[in-house]
């Protein structure tokens, strides 16, 4: 089921993207943009990640199949288990696709980003401070509503999101039909239906990740607004100050919200300069 891309594609950028394969130079732009072509060229790099062009984070609720997606793309055999909480630390692996090298980071499952436990903090810190080029949120198609809470929270932090609508096979078995195109329109990001255990939809996922990583798609994520006027004003004040101090901060509104909430971890991060360059280095190391 190739995901019909609901987001406006800029034809110029599609053509400008090289297909990355040196031994097949005669391919036209249509071929180069075709998922089938790149999928054949997927090179699983395992832990060999000497240098990479893009960092991709895999986030999602517990037990939605993040590690299965991770294994399928990197060729690693990170142990997967059918229970929530399997991944407690982040695992890293790499793959090459369309001529670019991607570093894939498998994060522990988390229900929210307002977390208290160590494994959830690992996930949140990476999304917030690691600034991945693409964040793939793996969601369980059979429990969409609950999973969307996390998607909406991730969208508060970053625009560069691909929703991987996983476990489509189980949804089908239960007779649940998910309209991925409507969901993509509503969320304003790419949505790719997959069944990672059967490797279904992975070529389309790779393609979507590439499009977001290279900036080929313009994402207009839907954000929850409608806060009371007093809060709106308070946020505005803080966001102005944050943006002045950190011109590159992509998620000033979220940081401002957390500061208003008195989130110790974020206050610490500010004090210790983690919001700036420090974590960048920690992530690249």
């Amino acid at each position: 089921m190739p995901a019909q891309n609901p987001i406006t594609l800029d034809p110029q950028t599609v053509q400008g993207n090289g297909n990355g394969s040196t031994d097949a130079p005669a391919l036209g732009p249509a071929c180069a943009a075709c998922p089938a072509h790149h999928a054949a060229n997927l090179k699983r790099l395992g832990v060999d990640m000497a240098d990479w062009d893009y960092v991709v984070a895999l986030a999602g609720n517990p037990n939605t199949g993040k590690s299965t997606v991770f294994n399928a793309l990197t060729g690693l055999r990170q142990h997967t288990g059918n229970w929530p909480g399997k991944t407690v630390a982040r695992a890293e692996g790499g793959y090459e696709y369309g001529g670019a090298r991607y570093k894939l980071v498998d994060l522990p499952g988390t229900y929210s980003l307002l977390s208290t436990s160590l494994d959830e903090e690992v996930a949140r810190d990476f999304l917030l401070f690691g600034r991945p080029d693409v964040t793939v949120v793996v969601v369980d198609a059979t429990r969409l509503e609950r999973n969307l809470n996390l998607v909406l929270q991730v969208l508060e932090i970053t625009d560069r999101v691909v929703v991987c609508l996983n476990l489509m096979d189980e949804a089908r078995r239960h007779g649940i039909v998910v309209d991925d195109r409507r969901l993509a329109r509503d969320l304003g990001v790419l949505v790719v239906p997959t069944a990672a255990r059967q490797r279904e939809g992975l070529p389309e996922l790779l393609q979507a990740m590439q499009e977001v990583a290279t900036g080929q798609v313009h994402l207009r994520p839907n954000r929850v607004h409608g806060e009371p006027p007093a809060l709106k004003q308070a946020l505005q004040q803080l966001v102005t100050r944050l943006e002045a101090a950190y011109p590159q901060l992509p998620n000033a509104r979220w940081v401002a919200l957390r500061l208003l909430d008195g989130d110790e971890r974020i206050i610490q991060a500010l004090k210790q300069g983690e919001l700036g360059s420090l974590t960048r280095q920690a992530v690249l190391a």
């Binding site: 001529g99 189980e170 809060l231 500010l270």
Partner: protein, 495 residues
């Protein structure tokens, strides 16, 4: 390789980082946030969360079409109704465990004997012969083949078959989705013990490897409950100890039943009893800790029961063989080879009329006998601190040395060929009784964690104090339990 022609906002396109804010700006931001917090009021957070949940519900509702009629029969729910029921939950759990052990014990016998025959009966004399043929000095061939090689071969023969059966079976259960149901069944008990319900999950991880179980405690949010889970994880029998349990049970407990098929079942039952005793001790120690030094509230959590998924048999076989069996076996071999060398040296360096090993065993013997064990077993546990896997081979080797059963081995420090019957002969020659077997099984359950686990505990807690507690508490308990069992046993049986 052509590079994309468009400017990329990704990592390689990033300019040197400009976003280091001066401390004054940070202070200003924090002060502003502090002041504004009073203005916006307390409930804004709840309202935002509520807005988000409403939005998620709305989007989900728009995208999902459910079948018009409820399915008449939901297999998952029907299975859950049985395996997590009050009446059947625990019996099914115990039966499944017993079945796994029985399959392991029954299946491992033949390949174990074959491996012992190949590596010990055939290869070992051949290697010795070869060494003699090329004129290798006898001390060197003794050191290499009677020490290093035999210890390694023994570990492989004893451990590989049971692991190659046990791990895939256990992984299949895990893949199927059974472990969260175990956690669900145990949750109430852990709560009553003042511990976190998720400790049931870290416990089942510990059945694979305690170091992994200790790392898995990261899923527990409260530091207090996490510490309890770390300290008590050692009561989950780990894969270094399963083979010891299985071997000793089939040597000493199994024969109590007459017929051979019943012997296998009895042995499996004995291993299950020891494993359940471990769970019981985990509850007891958690209870005591949470009532004394680690007092506090029990936190609640929600545990999601995942759908049952048909396990992918071939992939499970592959990953559990490669990732678990071979890695664990490799670890055992890495520790067994130097241990074999060390034991050979201990057995062949003589001071004051006896070997070093003899001195050590004699020193520990009175205390060992008090515990219903013996000096050999305690010495073996000293050698096996790096890896529990080598306890049985070390016990056998030291027994041969100190009981003067020279006929079995060839000179000091030789680990002899041994199938199950041979092992039993040796141990009985070393003065072992049923009590020794039972207490070895108990001590194998209740003693200090291996050095890898101790190191992991320190890494996770960063506390010398709690690492020490987690290391010494179980061994002290082990001494206590075996002492009491030995005294009562001797009182009743007169032995």
């Amino acid at each position: 390789m052509s590079s994309p022609a468009i400017p990329m906002p990704g990592s390689i396109g990033r300019s040197p980082d400009p976003d280091v804010a001066p401390p004054a700006a940070v202070e200003d931001i924090l002060a502003t946030a502090q002041a504004l917090r009073w203005e916006v009021g307390q409930e804004f957070h709840e309202r935002l969360v509520e807005a988000m949940y409403t939005e998620a519900a709305r989007l989900g509702d728009r995208a999902v079409t459910r079948p018009g009629t409820e399915p008449r029969f939901d297999l998952d729910r029907s299975i859950d109704r049985v395996v997590t029921s009050r009446r059947w939950g625990f019996p099914i759990m115990i039966l499944l465990l017993a079945l796994v052990f029985w399959l392991t014990i029954a299946g491992a016998n033949v390949p174990s004997a074959m491996l012992a025959n190949l590596l010990l009966d055939q290869a070992h004399p051949a290697l010795k012969g070869l060494a003699a043929g090329i004129g290798m000095p006898s001390w060197l061939s003794g050191f290499l083949f009677d020490g290093v090689y035999l210890a390694t071969a023994w570990v492989i023969a004893v451990m590989l078959p049971p692991m190659a059966i046990f791990f895939p079976l256990f992984t299949l259960l895990e893949d199927f989705g059974y472990l969260p149901r175990v956690a669900f069944n145990m949750d109430k008990l852990f709560q009553r013990a003042g511990a976190h319900g998720k400790q049931a999950l870290t416990m089942t991880m510990g059945w694979g490897c305690n170091a992994a179980g200790v790392v898995a405690t990261r899923i527990i949010d409260s530091p207090r409950e996490r510490l309890i889970a770390i300290i008590t994880n050692n009561f989950s029998l780990c894969n270094g100890r399963w083979p010891t349990q299985i071997l000793i049970a089939s040597l000493f407990i199994g024969p109590l039943a007459g017929t051979s098929w019943l012997a296998g079942a009895i042995s499996a039952a004995a291993v299950v009893v020891v494993a359940l005793l471990g769970v019981l001790l985990m509850f007891a120690v958690s209870y005591l800790l949470s009532r004394t030094v680690l007092r506090g509230e029990v936190s609640s959590f929600s545990l999601e029961l995942p759908p049952y998924r048909p396990p992918r048999i071939l992939q499970t076989l592959y990953t559990s063989l490669i990732d678990r069996t071979l890695i664990v076996l490799w670890r055992a071999v890495v520790f067994a080879a130097p241990a074999g060398a060390l034991i050979w040296l201990f057995a062949n360096i003589h001071v004051g009329g006896d070997s070093l090993a003899g001195h050590l065993v004699n020193l520990l013997n009175p205390f060992g006998l008090l515990l219903g064990l013996n000096g050999v077993i305690l010495a073996a546990y000293l050698f096996a601190i790096p890896a529990n896997e080598i306890v049985v081979p070390t016990v056998l080797m030291l027994t041969v040395l100190t009981s003067g059963l020279v006929g079995q081995g060839v000179g000091a420090g030789v680990m002899f060929d041994a199938d199950a019957a041979g092992v039993l002969t040796i141990l009985k020659g070393g003065g072992w009784t049923l009590l020794t077997g039972v207490n070895l099984m108990l001590f194998s359950l209740i003693h200090n964690p291996c050095s890898t686990t101790i190191y992991t505990i320190w890494k996770e807690t960063k506390s010398v104090k709690w690492t020490t507690v987690a290391s010494l508490l179980p061994v002290a308990m082990g001494f206590g339990v075996t002492f009491v069992v030995a005294q009562v046993w001797r009182l009743v049986a007169g032995g």
